[in-house]
């Protein structure tokens, strides 16, 4: 009894922070969703379900949701395909300074995310590195439109999310006992078969954790589509930004925010149900 009370005292600072910084804002936003929007910047505490009705009936929002889910899924899957290889390489290499390779994964985080995203403009833009090079060697006559497309958005997000994927996969690979591979080999597997029978299934939790993390982060992103995407490439995050900052429609903005929050929460909950969230935290705490 005494001990449980003491445990609560120890937990209190963290709980108080969580409540003030996370739970309370969400509750306030939740309340806002029932306010009535009068005109830009003005709302009234009339308690109406109008915002929710609008969200559930207007297919404009549903299309945005669908597109966001699609782009996030493509990004996550691309990250998985591209991230598994380096993770596997770092795991397998006999190079003695593995930590250096892992450090290289972290290096991009030393530069501001926004700046990293802007740098793509100099690569993909009309006067960017790719177009200039291709034109100067005469493969193309006029610049190709690469910037401000969905492809550019996905690319920017992969750039940003790949390290998360690699770290997650790497952590679960690192947990595999190499003797298992030796055992599979002596029992008659080629190295490719041993990969399929042992390495892949045992690294699946890390891969799934990476997929979830990339999906959630991509679906919630708004900076990347803002900078690298055209008007048509806006995602749900941009819609929220627009509603709150341009239209100054806080009630509707809150509604959309809560929608995104709940949907991503459901995705995480389903994942947690089947895989357990612990793998992600293991990946992040590296």
């Amino acid at each position: 009894m005494q001990q449980t009370r003491f445990a609560w005292y120890l937990l209190a600072p963290a709980l108080i922070l969580l409540v003030i910084l996370l739970v309370l804002p969400i509750i306030i936003m939740m309340i806002y969703t029932f306010y009535e929007f009068i005109t830009a910047g003005v709302e009234q505490a009339n308690y109406t379900a109008a915002n929710w009705r609008e969200f559930f009936t207007d297919s404009y929002y549903h299309l945005f949701l669908w597109k966001t889910a699609r782009v996030a899924a493509i990004t996550a899957i691309a990250c998985a395909l591209m991230g598994y290889v380096p993770a596997y390489f770092i795991w397998m290499t006999s190079f003695r300074h593995k930590w250096l390779l892992l450090l290289l994964l972290i290096v991009p985080f030393w530069i501001s995310f926004t700046i990293r995203t802007f740098s793509w403009i100099h690569i993909l833009g009309e006067q960017g590195a790719i177009n200039v090079t291709l034109m100067s060697i005469g493969i193309i006559d006029s610049p190709i439109q690469m910037l401000y497309t969905e492809g550019a958005v996905i690319m920017g997000m992969i750039h940003f999310l790949l390290p998360y994927m690699i770290l997650n996969v790497y952590v679960s690979l690192e947990g595999i006992d190499r003797d298992l591979l030796s055992a599979a080999r002596t029992l008659g597997c080629t190295s490719a078969q041993a990969f399929r029978e042992v390495t892949l299934p045992l690294s699946l939790p890390g891969l799934c954790a990476g997929l979830l993390l990339c999906f959630v982060l991509a679906a919630g992103s708004y900076v990347t589509p803002q900078i690298l995407g055209g008007n048509r490439d806006a995602l749900f995050g941009n819609l929220i930004y627009d509603t709150i900052m341009q239209q100054l429609n806080w009630p509707m903005g809150s509604t959309l925010s809560i929608v995104l929050f709940v949907l991503l929460g459901i995705v995480s909950a389903i994942y947690s149900r089947y895989m357990g969230l612990s793998t992600i935290f293991k990946g992040l705490s590296r």
Partner: protein
């Protein structure tokens, strides 16, 4: 033509067998070769393996008889695992040849070798059921499905764990996992079974039980087995032959009795069992019996080969179990007067540390009348026949 292993033949028939062997070897060389081919399961020929500049295994020659249980014994890091892994194909020897079942396998890829390997930590596939673990090797040998089910069941019966097919390895105890690992390795009917310290992860009681069990299973299957351990008791208890290794070299290869009774080097003498190592100089050597002046001043008799020349420095090895304490010495025995410096009473036996004529001796003896205590004056005696002489190079004089 199969000549039974000496250790399984009654003593009386041994000379006869030796004679047959000799005749075979002399009369017809081809026949002798044939004999070799059919009874040698694994043959390492001057195998050397280096990790960068580090030599893990040095020029090892080792022939292992079909159906026998051979133990590689040595301290941690002496290259035992490396030898096993090179037979399995997980590492490639820098030089030398490895022949398994009459086939040179240096260039045969791992998955085409037919070798069963059991790992120290079992290495069971955690995401597969017991059944799938055992069936794994069969699946890759294109065994028909029904046949697989039958063999898996038989393997489980053999390791005395029927009915656990559908469980995951994590649902089994350490000893049970060990048995599954064994079943997985023998179900493929390998040319040789390699066991890398398979018992070291078990607790003491279970280890002893599994030791017996393992030996019984090996006998039943009749499979050639190479067992790796750093535990001398395990080696002595289980093996047909013991190969003692140190620093990547084979120090001695013999039956447990040979290795125990006539250690071929200082290392073997001190690694296996408790020995007294006493420095001295040969004073005379006639007809297999040498007088040795010990550095401490005393003089003893010891059985000695002709190569023990007068004046050469030697180390006398006497097993602690061969020292008699406080008994009337038999005729011809060496006899030293001493005093008990320490006693460890173990119930049926006692370990005495005795200071005798400038020597510090250890004696492990059976207690028949009473236990000597510290300070008691005792006579220590041992027979010249129990002495092994090591030369200045620390090898046994032969």
């Amino acid at each position: 033509m199969e000549i039974p292993h000496p250790s399984r033949v009654p003593r009386a028939t041994l000379p006869a067998l030796r004679a047959v062997e000799g005749v075979l070897a002399c009369v017809s060389k081809p026949l002798a070769c044939y004999h070799l081919m059919t009874t040698t399961a694994v043959d390492l020929k001057s195998v050397t393996l280096t990790y960068g500049p580090f030599v893990a295994v040095k020029d090892v020659d080792l022939a292992i008889e079909k159906g026998s249980f051979v133990t590689l014994l040595g301290p941690s890091g002496c290259g035992k695992t490396t030898i096993l892994r090179s037979i399995a194909g997980l590492v490639t020897p820098t030089s030398g040849e490895i022949v398994v079942a009459g086939r040179l396998i240096n260039d045969v890829p791992i998955y085409k070798r037919n070798i069963g390997l059991v790992f120290q930590n079992y290495a069971l596939f955690p995401h597969k059921t017991v059944e799938d673990n055992i069936a794994f090797g069969l699946k890759y040998r294109d065994v028909p499905r029904l046949e697989i089910a039958r063999k898996v069941k038989r393997a489980l019966d053999m390791v005395r764990l029927p009915g656990v097919e559908k469980k995951l390895p994590s649902q089994l105890s350490g000893g049970q996992q060990q048995r599954i690992a064994l079943a997985r390795a023998i179900v493929i009917e390998p040319d040789v079974l390699l066991l890398d310290e398979p018992l070291s992860a078990l607790d003491a009681n279970l280890r002893e039980e599994m030791r017996t069990e393992l030996k019984i299973i090996q006998r039943e299957v009749g499979i050639t087995t190479i067992f790796v351990t750093h535990d001398q008791e395990e080696a002595l208890a289980m093996s047909d032959r013991i190969v003692v290794m140190n620093h990547g070299l084979i120090e001695q290869n013999g039956t447990p009795e040979e290795v125990y009774r006539t250690p071929s080097s200082r290392f073997v003498a001190s690694f296996l069992g408790q020995s007294n190592l006493i420095a001295g100089t040969i004073a005379s050597n006639t007809r297999g019996k040498a007088k040795i002046t010990l550095d401490s001043g005393a003089s003893i008799d010891a059985a000695a080969p002709a190569s023990a020349k007068k004046g050469s420095k030697v180390t006398v090895v006497v097993r602690a179990q061969r020292l008699e304490v406080g008994k009337k010495a038999a005729a011809g025995s060496n006899r030293l007067q001493g005093r008990i410096a320490a006693t460890s009473y173990l119930g049926g036996t006692a370990i005495y540390i005795i200071e005798a004529e400038g020597l510090k001796l250890q004696a492990n003896t059976i207690i028949d009348t009473h236990v000597f205590r510290e300070g008691d004056a005792v006579d220590v005696s041992f027979s010249p026949g129990d002495c092994v002489l090591l030369g200045e190079d620390d090898r046994r004089l032969a």
